[in-house]
Amino acid sequence: MEVFQHLATGFGVALTAVNLLYALIGALLGTLIGVLPGIGPVATIAMLLPTTYALEPVSALIMLAGIYYGAQYGGSTTAILVNMPGESSSVVTCLDGYQMARKGQAGAALAIAALGSFFAGSCATVLVAAVSLPLSALALKFGPAEYFSLMVLGLIGAVVLAHGSLVKAIAMIVLGLLLGIVGTDVNSGVERFTFDIPELSDGIGVVVVAMGLFGFAEIILNLESNEKREVIRTRLKGLWLTLAQLKQAAPAVLRGTALGSMLGVLPGGGAMLSSFASYSLEKKLARDPSQFGHGAIQGVAGPESANNAGAQTSFIPLLTLGIPENAVMAMMVGAMTIHNIQPGPQVMTSNPQLFWGLIASMWVGNLMLVVLNLPLIGIWIRLLTVPYRILYPAILLFCGIGVYTVNNTSFDVMQTAFFGALGVLFAKLECEPAPLLLGFVLGPMMEENLRRALLLSRGDPSVFATRPISAVLLAAAIVLVLVIALPNIRRQREEAFQEA
């Protein structure tokens, strides 16, 4: 089997001492920020990107990927023990995990969360490896028209599954695309929208945008609301699972893994969507749904497996097509670009060490997490008692140093502050920042493919509809918009009638 050969190559890369170390650092950092509320994986990756310049690209990506799936483990720990989701993907784990903890079953909840996550992570790793080959082969046949349509579908899909207004989300994408093309145009050499500021001729940095919108804005919004948080200590008595509990949880783990793996691949999918979907599935399938919310072990096992599977498989579109499907993957695009790797189907052939090494490292990182995490729970919980008034200046410091050292210029810090203010404004207007970040990293690629597609067709835009793959992709995007827009229109009509 070709896949296993490739995986063997991958493990050869992932198991070197250096890469093991970076996988460990990434996984631990991920767990840390998963435990701490108020800072997510996007801001953390933005913070750490500048420190990875000196590293081998594969080591850098291994560490940054570890942050994402590590955060899933950390988020569930606090959800179960103190009823506080450190990450959005562990919100549903609070429902039953904390109830289990109150009944004295915290150990069982943590154990099933960790084991389920590990099982899901292992399956998802194999899945990523298995589908990468055919998908990359398919993507290599894509011309510019197909690529442009694929990006349209990816961007539309990413916002359709997000909550909130569709029009706002699409407008945020367009704004992101616009910000993405600031700087010198590669084809004409013209500097666009740089306002004659020399620092802008290379464009706006992804670190600047992400840290401002996701890091600074989050801190400011937290400070506006009540920052006090109650930390309840739960006694942890051993990490045991009875055979009966395991039997109850096993089917939920399997279903969560399958569901999460599928939802992770969809644009806009990933960890959060997977966990929510899995919880409602388990509740529907349960013989006694009234148990849910009162400490049903399936309500922990399913979502926890699903969010880890989803986190893992969301790498598939990035690695095979070069299309990021959520904000974390957009950061990975930024990381690859900084290391001079153009994301896309050619990565697998031009850079097999990096490609398979990254995939293998995900499994290694998951193993580390399941082994290391349980003994470290005491430390994570103690970290939660650090008050926010001490935590946020420290986060600001790491952000400040991170963004300053990208180019050693205070201009970048000012830009980040600008995006921080913009992030606060957008939050007040209920405009999600994630679509903007996706558009931002895709902007230059989208313009280039549009330009090439129309150059080849001599300016005839019908090329997007006449080439079959492109037509299917665009049609799928249109269907998605209609599916979401129709209930919206209906609801508005009803509201209008009520007012009349």
Partner: protein, 150 residues
């Protein structure tokens, strides 16, 4: 004159329209070209038009469909948090990481309702030591530690 029923959407729409108009105005300096031979102004023009259309839909819809009022705006955390980081960026090369860190931590801490000046000073000194250890000594980033260093 219709009244604004959804102020958030209306303001958001107005902002998108304004950015779209600015994009087209600023972008008019760049060669448009044709669809087959796009100039640097072509793609931005498309994006500008899209922003105006989307913003228009938002703003018009805000006149018909009711929504929540604008949330209150707090200047204090915004100004202090962003100000302290900008200050850090401006002085770190001159005064070094150690001092800049202490200044950043103390000024940023003032944004909290539970600001404790002495505590923030202690935290600042501890984090300064950590920052020097991790970033300058450990990761070898090109930053001066003390004032007057190159």
């Amino acid at each position: 004159m219709a009244s604004i029923r959804n102020p958030r959407d209306f303001v958001a729409g107005a902002i998108f329209i304004a950015i779209g108009i600015a994009t087209i105005a600023l972008g008019s300096r760049y060669t448009l070209g044709t669809a087959a031979r796009m100039g640097p102004g072509y793609f931005p023009r498309i994006l500008g038009i899209l922003l105006i259309v989307l913003g228009g839909i938002l703003a018009l819809r805000a006149l018909r469909v009711r929504g929540a009022p604008l949330p209150p705006f707090h200047w204090r955390p915004l100004v202090i948090v962003l100000g302290s980081v900008v200050l850090f960026g401006a002085i770190v090369q001159k005064v070094g990481v150690a001092l800049a860190t202490v200044i950043l931590i103390v000024t940023a801490s003032a944004a909290s309702r539970e600001f404790r000046p002495r505590e923030s000073l202690v935290v600042g000194v501890a984090l300064a030591a950590l920052a020097v250890g991790v970033f300058v000594v450990g990761l070898q980033l090109q930053l001066p530690i003390w004032p007057g260093q190159p």
